[in-house]
Symmetry: C2
Subunit: 324 residues, 2 copies
C-alpha cells in the first residue's frame, strides 16, 4: 500500500510532483539522466514531497511554488541513497539493482553529485534565501551523519544517545525540514513552521527506528532488499544496542558480531539476528519509536484543526506500523 493511495486528496498534486521529479533530472548528459531516472523510477514512498504538500496546506497552498521545495527534498533523499549504496556495497534497492550494481561506483558517485546539484538548482527557482539555507544546512548535517555511520561500523560500545544523534542527522532532519519548508514556502505563520518541524523530526526518528527494525525482522519481499544488511556491514542499530545490554546475551552476541566483522560480510548473520530477535531489544526499540510518535502527536495538537492535520496523524500512525 502506498502512502499516496491513502490520501486520495493529494493524488492529483502528487502525480504532478512525480512528473516534475522526472523532468528535473533531464537535459544533462544522457547517461546521467538514465542513471538518475533508474533510481527515481524504482519508486519509493515520496514521503518528503507528501510532507511538503501537507505543510503547505497550513498556509497559502500553491503547488507551483511548493514543487520547488518538494522536488528538491525528494532529490536530496535520492542522491543520498545513491551514495549510500556505494558505501553499503548494496546490490538491490527497492527491489531493483542499484546504480552502483548496474553501472559502477564512479558513475554512482557522480549520479549522486548531479542529483544533489539539480536539487539545489530547482530550489533556487524560489527566490527565498531562507529555503536555500535550510536545505544546505540539512545537507551538511546529513553528510556528517553518513560519516559517523561509517566510523561507527562495528562499534559495539556506542550508546543509545549516540545512535539517536546519528539517525537524527541521517534521517529525521530531512523529514523535519520537509514539513517545515512546506509551511515556509506557503507563508504559514512562524509557530506553524516550528510545530511542523517538531512533528517531522519525531516522525523521522520513529521512521528510522522502524526501518532498522525491518532490516532485522523483515523479508526481502517486504523490504525490497535482503534483510540483515545492517548486520553484515556492521551498522549497529537500536535493537542491537539494547540486546548488548542484556547480561546473558552480551558475550555471545559480541562474539557473533566479531565473527561477522572478521568475515568481511561473507559469513552468515542469521545467528546474530536470532539472538537480537529473541532479546528484549525489538520490543524496547518499538517502545522508543512509539515515544517519538507520541511526541509527533503532541506537536500536531498545537496546529489548527484542519483536514491536513488528520492526514499527518494518519501518516505518523502508518509509519509506526509499517511492514515495508
Amino acid at each position: 500500500m502506498k502512502l499516496i493511495d491513502i490520501f486520495g486528496a493529494l493524488k492529483k498534486d502528487m502525480d504532478f510532483i512525480e512528473r516534475q521529479l522526472y523532468k528535473s533530472i533531464e537535459g544533462g548528459d544522457e547517461l546521467l539522466s538514465e542513471t538518475s531516472l533508474h533510481l527515481l523510477k524504482a519508486g519509493g514512498k515520496r514521503l518528503r514531497p507528501v510532507f511538503v504538500l501537507l505543510g503547505g496546506k497550513f498556509g497559502q497552498y500553491d503547488l507551483e511554488k511548493l514543487q520547488h521545495v518538494a522536488v528538491p527534498l525528494e532529490l536530496i533523499h535520492s542522491a543520498s541513497l545513491v551514495h549510500d549504496d556505494v558505501i553499503d556495497d548494496a546490490g538491490t534497492r527497492r527491489g531493483k539493482p542499484t546504480v552502483k550494481a548496474k553501472w559502477d561506483n564512479r558513475i554512482a558517485m557522480y549520479t549522486g553529485d548531479y542529483i544533489y546539484a539539480r536539487a539545489l538548482m530547482i530550489a533556487t527557482e524560489l527566490k527565498n534565501p531562507e529555503i536555500h539555507r535550510t536545505l544546505a544546512k540539512a545537507m551538511v548535517q546529513m553528510s556528517i551523519g553518513e560519516m559517523e555511520q561509517i566510523r561507527d561500523f562495528f562499534n559495539t560500545e556506542q550508546s543509545v544517545r549516540h545512535y539517536l544523534l546519528r539517525i537524527r542527522r541521517k534521517t529525521a532532519l530531512l523529514i523535519a525540514i520537509s514539513c517545515q519548508l512546506g509551511a515556509l514556502a506557503a507563508e504559514a505563520p512562524k509557530e506553524v513552521h516550528s510545530l511542523l518541524y517538531q512533528y517531522g523530526y519525531n516522525v523521522g526518528m520513529a521512521f528510522q527506528i522502524r526501518d532498522d527494525l525491518l532490516d532485522l525482522c523483515g523479508t526481502e519481499k517486504t523490504i525490497g532488499k535482503p534483510p540483515g544488511s545492517d548486520m553484515r556491514q556492521g551498522n549497529i542499530t537500536l535493537p542491537v544496542i539494547y540486546a548488548l545490554q542484556e547480561e546473558k546475551l552480551r558475550e555471545p552476541l559480541l562474539a557473533e558480531i566479531r565473527g561477522i566483522q572478521a568475515g568481511n560480510g561473507s559469513g552468515s548473520v542469521s545467528k546474530a539476528i536470532d539472538m537480537i530477535v529473541s532479546s528484549n531489544g525489538i520490543t524496547r526499540a518499538e517502545q522508543l519509536a512509539d515515544c517519538f510518535i507520541d511526541k509527533a502527536m503532541e506537536a500536531l495538537a498545537g496546529l489548527p484543526e484542519i483536514k491536513p492535520r488528520t492526514h499527518l496523524k494518519e501518516i505518523a500512525l502508518f509509519i509506526n506500523r509499517r511492514t515495508y
Copy 2:
C-alpha cells in the same frame, strides 16, 4: 611562485580568506574536518578566491561579503578534486597523498559531499538568491562534465569541439562565475559581470588546456603528481586529439592507446607520450590556449581602467606560461 606572491596588494585579504577556508569546514565530525583540512592544507593556487576579490574591486569592495563567495568557490573546487581522485584512482595530489589514498574511497566520497554542502551553506549567509542559483547551476554543469569525462575515457574518436565542451563544464565555468560573482556580490554594474564572466571563461579554457599539456610535458616535481596520468586513465586531451589527426602518427598512436587500455593502467605510457610530444599536437594546443587568452584580454579591454584590471591581465599571462 604563488599567485598571491605576485599580488602583494591582495595578500592581507587572501590570508583572511585562507583562515575562513579552514574555519568553514570545522565543527562537524572530527574525521570529516581532518579529511577536509588535509586537502585544503596541501595548498593550491586559490585561483578562484583571487578572481572573486579582483571581481569585487569593480564594485563596492567588501571583504566581509566577498568571503561568502570566495570560500564557497574554493570549496566547490576542492570537493570536485576529492571526488576526482576517487575516480582517477589517484595516489597523490599537490605532492601529498590524496584523501582516498590516505583513508579510503567511501571516506573520500563523503568528504566531497560534506565540502559541497558546506560551500552552499556559507554562500547562503549572503541573502542573494542569484548567487545561490549561479553556484547550483555551475555544480550541475560540473557534474555533467565529470560524467562526460568518464564516458569519454579512451574515446579516440572525439572531436576538438567535444573536448572543448567538456573542459568548459569541468573547469572554465567555475572560473567564469568566480569573476562574475565577485562583481555581483560587490554590486558592480551588470555589463561588468558579463565582461568578467567572459574573461574568466576564456582564462579557464586556457588554464585547462595548459593543465592537460603539463600532464604530458611536466615532471612529478613541477606538477605535484605523476605525469602521464591522463594517458593512463584514458583521458584523451587536446594534444592527443591533434596528434591523432596526423596521418603518420594516427595508427601507431591508436595502437599504443589500445595497449594502455588493455593493460588497465598497468603498462607504460611513455611511448604514447613521446609520440604526442613529437607531433604538432603540443604547439597546436598551445596556440589554442593563446587564442583563449587573447579573447580574455578582449573582454578586459571593455572594463574600467583600474589597477585590478592590470592584475587580471597579469594572471592571464601567468596562466598561459605556467609550468606547474
